[in-house]
Amino acid sequence: MSIKLEHLNYVYSQGTAYEKKALNDICIEIPHGEFVGIIGHTGSGKSTLIQHLNGLIRATSGELYYNGENIYREGYSMRGLRNEVGLVFQYPEHQLFEIDVMTDVCFGPKNQGLSADQCKERALEALRLVGLKEKYYNVSPFELSGGQKRRVAIAGVLAMRPKVLVLDEPTAGLDPKGRDDILDQIAYLHRESDITVILVSHSMEDVAKYADRLIVMNKGAVMYNDEPKRVFEHYQELEKVGLAAPQVTYIMHDLAGRGIPVRTDVTTVAEAADEILRAVGS
């Protein structure tokens, strides 16, 4: 069970004056059950990359295997793939349209051909998973706050019970509590329901806290593909390509520079506190 991209290339507007290579020789493998973060500057190809994962965009060349099957082979069921790989776009709340929350979340499973009862059951399960309070289930989605709308939109994808959940900047524009709530909920989901999570984010602090592995995109190519700790060791290179390390990583480097014997491969506040106490306490 995995997603595997082999020498994948994608060229926009091929053959025109606006031809642009958006993805360049991407080779990555994402095993089932992993929590992967994708980071990269605006325009680095992150969104183009994830739209390949459920076949919304077809590669110009190269192969994409889902569970060992080449999705570009003739007769491959894209519909089946899209049932398994759920994509949550940026600002997904702009896609809410039904009269109430429940009906909106039922839309996905309804299109999968499930009965009304099954849809409702799926919707309830999904709404519980995203932590939306029951009193909102029959309210118009447009009456909800930004963070609540976003949860409804994510529930709409979860109700289709995807095996792979891909989220494109799910916390952009949310307040800090809304940000933490959504990410904690996704982490909970990942632990509880055995799914693969692929998270695209501009927050280095967030990916450091949640992801098992980071894929760093730069100009359409994979620049790093490693544990967050290892990736953020290259903080100077990351800055050159529009990125950074979490604030605590910089603190550790500064401390080490001042002669305090701390490790610098630290990426979260909790780790930093432990490491500083160890170094200073002794």
Partner: protein
Amino acid sequence: MDMVQTEKLVFEYEKRDEEGNVIGVSRAVDEVDIDVQEGQFIAILGHNGSGKSTLAKHINAILVPTQGTMWVNGRNTKDPEELWNVRQSAGMVFQNPDNQIIGTVVEEDVGFGPENLGVPTDEIWQRVEDSLRSVGMIEYRHHSPNKLSGGQKQRVAIAGVVAMEPKCIVLDEPTAMLDPVGRREVLKTVQKLREQKKVTVILITHYMEEVVDADKIYVMDHGHVVMEGTPREIFSRVDELKSYRLDVPQVTLLADELRKRGLKIPDGILKKEELVEALCQLN
């Protein structure tokens, strides 16, 4: 001198049913008093739906108060005669750069504002050049805006506002859609404008790190101003901030954690340099 001042400002939205009949009102801003002096850097924090953007839209009279008053540069925004003066005094930059850029060439986009103000052509070009220089985008003047990165587009949007020579710039989550470097570029640009052009800056954001240099922070909740003070005062009240769905900068959180676990670290640490210094003092 007062740049932006409000007195018991109230703004109510009318809720309507499908036929358009009013079925109730909801109060987005509730008796807010703020006072911003010329040249200050003011931050407004608050969770989604707390009323901060609604308040901000009053500053250049996109909205006018239901009750109470807003003065911008001494002018009452409710006075229709003053509308253009108000808009010229205060410019706004929004979250999504793609919604604010209309020109097909960078310099045309920046010239749009002054052109609408009736500025003579020669002066428009002068202002376009000055403002693109001040946001560090002069070398892109002949480029198409849609080929720029998010941070660059946002700087062009800021240049468009600067070219109108406002005394005050209101930025409503200008960095929400940007990558880390784009975010830094925009903040540096704003900082530079304050120093060089002495503009008053009002920044609305969800990133706590961006407001540590503010002269004053207002925290909003349910349409009210619930906290007011310097960054040091505000960010030392961690639990209270969390109750308003907000947070503190990562370095403040780390300092707080170390203090709880017994290290002697002073209160109100906002920058990494301060924490590093405090820890070096311990040794």
